[in-house]
């Protein structure tokens, strides 16, 4: 269970088996999903920080002879990303290494690789799972999705539906798009952002395929209307198979800078060593990363 001995997989000690039924391993990183919806970057220090600064709002009219109105800047929160270390090791007896007849039985390094890359995706997906949890907040003290994100100069803004939450539909996306078109900037002025990707649990794959793939309105009774979601929004669907705590929530990734991000401090690194007195092989893998968001405008959420 915790160490791999000859008895752990005793039926593989002789060449009598046709094949080993186990998980596929290899190219684990290329199967990852997180990099399809997170902006992936590198970090070079133990922690990195982002500082929000807002401008002075609208300019004003200057009556003849009067001074030009004065603007200023206002600081917002500091958001800090601390590198965290993750890893796993497997301990295999020398006897098991010598006697197992099939490469696919132990393959400790490959199994470690799979475990860690899966954790990368699970960890990144926690941002979606906890999108409205006030236990996990960003620099402004609000969760990723909130109707009361804080503006540095005072006031709030929202990156989710204001009250009623919607299942994915043309109507829902029209409402979301309108809200995004009027998303405010750091200074509270209407700025507008553009939705780029739709992230959703895999149970919604069918409805998103219809919504994004049909050039005419997929709504029954409205088939003659054009499908503005298809023709105007140009969304890339990203089904997140690790988002398994809901079948109804969904979100949009927008073009706002510094939205949901994933930072590699160090990509997975494997090493091996021997505990000599016990002749036990150790196969280890570790990686360091951080994830989170600075600018909630990079995300829009439906808590349906």
């Amino acid at each position: 269970m915790s160490e791999i001995f000859t008895s752990t997989a005793a039926l593989a000690l002789k060449d009598t088996l046709e094949d080993i039924d186990t998980d596929e391993h290899g190219s684990e990183g290329s199967k990852a999903v997180f990099n399809k919806w997170c902006t992936v970057k590198n970090m070079t220090d133990n922690y990195i920080e982002y500082y929000e600064i807002a401008g002075g709002g609208l300019a004003g009219e200057k009556p003849e002879g009067e001074s030009i109105p004065v603007g200023t800047i206002i600081e917002g929160p500091l958001t800090r990303f601390n590198a965290r270390t993750f890893g796993q090791r497997m301990i295999v007896s020398e006897e098991a290494m010598e006697d197992m007849k099939y490469d696919k039985v132990i393959q400790a390094a490959k199994r470690n690789n799979r475990s860690l890359w899966k954790l990368v995706d699970f960890d990144a997906t926690l941002m979606l799972v906890r999108a409205t949890s006030t236990s996990y907040v960003g620099g402004d003290g609000q969760p990723l999705a909130s109707t009361t994100h804080v503006l540095p100069g005072g006031g709030t803004y929202s990156n989710m539906f204001p009250s009623a939450q919607f299942s994915p539909s043309k109507a829902a996306l029209v409402i979301a798009q309108a809200q995004l078109m009027q998303q405010v900037g750091h200074d509270g002025l209407i700025d507008g952002v553009e939705a780029k990707k739709a992230v959703f649990p895999v149970q919604q794959w069918g409805i998103w395929r219809e919504l994004l793939g049909s050039s005419y309105d997929p709504t029954p009774g409205a088939f003659n209307a054009i499908n503005v979601v298809n023709r105007d929004m140009n969304l890339t669907p990203v089904p997140v198979k690790y988002w398994n705590t809901t079948t109804t929530n969904w979100g949009l990734i927008t073009d706002a800078e510094l939205g949901v991000m994933f930072f590699w401090r160090r990509k997975p690194k494997s090493n091996t060593w021997v505990t000599e007195d016990k002749t036990m092989m150790n196969y280890g893998i570790t990686a360091r990363w951080s994830r989170g968001w600075v600018n909630p405008r990079g995300f829009f959420f439906s808590n349906a």
Partner: protein, 233 residues
């Protein structure tokens, strides 16, 4: 999402920081038929990840709950000596070879010193930290609630599995209903942290993994019977 239950008590790390734990290998008595609870419970096979104690006759046997003894070693569960990590020798088809589990009631000739005696390798619970799955939702079912039981003690609870290789399997898990601060001797699991899956676990479901140490050990050489002692039958 439900947590994927991983069977048994799994070695995580040692208190001393050793790479790998020490291993003790001892025989199993001829005809031994493990039962989860003294005088009751279910007959099971021995599987990797099960806790065992010394039977005080040179052999190892499953740690049983419900012992209900009194006196200096007042405990209602067996103290554990170790956790099974392998079976270097079991009898399969009448002949010895390594195996993944011990079949209940296996008889053999030649005694425990002979070449047919089934052998079980264990990691001693003394000085080591293990993972074990909780048998129910912990408290309010949040990460905070799971972290709040660190420092508390609990018993081992068996919920026998009648399917899967090696079945019937004792399936030891941490009994959430017992979790208490301080606690009696029979609460032999001391929670020292969350399992390695960490935040990726669903804290609103059962089978959240906890790291535990054993507070009551089957180690007769220690002098304080309230903490370390031989099992009293």
């Amino acid at each position: 999402m439900a947590n994927t239950h991983r069977y048994g008590i799994r070695f995580v790390r040692s208190i001393s920081g050793n790479d790998t734990p020490q291993i003790f290998t001892h025989p199993i008595a001829s005809g031994y038929a493990p039962v989860t609870v003294v005088g009751a419970g279910s007959s099971v096979n021995l599987n990797i990840g099960d806790p065992v104690k010394f039977a005080e006759d040179g052999t190892l046997m499953l740690t049983q709950t419900g012992q209900d003894s009194s006196g200096a070693n007042a405990d209602s569960d067996d103290y554990s000596f170790g956790v099974i990590v392998g079976f270097p020798r079991v009898i399969v088809g009448g002949y010895p070879r390594p195996g993944g589990f011990y079949t209940s009631g296996t008889t053999y000739s030649g005694g425990i010193g002979g070449d047919n005696a089934p052998l079980v390798s264990v990691i001693p619970v003394a000085g080591n930290i293990f993972e074990i799955d909780a048998n129910a939702v912990i408290g309010a079912g949040t990460k905070n609630a799971a972290m709040a039981v660190v420092g508390q003690t609990a018993r081992i609870a068996y919920s026998v599995l009648s399917s899967g290789n090696g079945q019937p399997k004792a399936n030891p898990r941490l009994n959430v209903a017992d979790l208490a601060a301080g606690g009696a001797n029979q609460l032999q699991l001391l929670v020292v942290g969350l399992g390695k899956a960490g935040d990726a676990m669903d804290f609103s479901s059962s089978d959240v993994t906890l790291q535990v140490m054993f507070t009551a050990l089957d180690l007769a050489q220690q002098s304080d019977p309230a903490i370390f002692g031989a099992n009293v039958e």
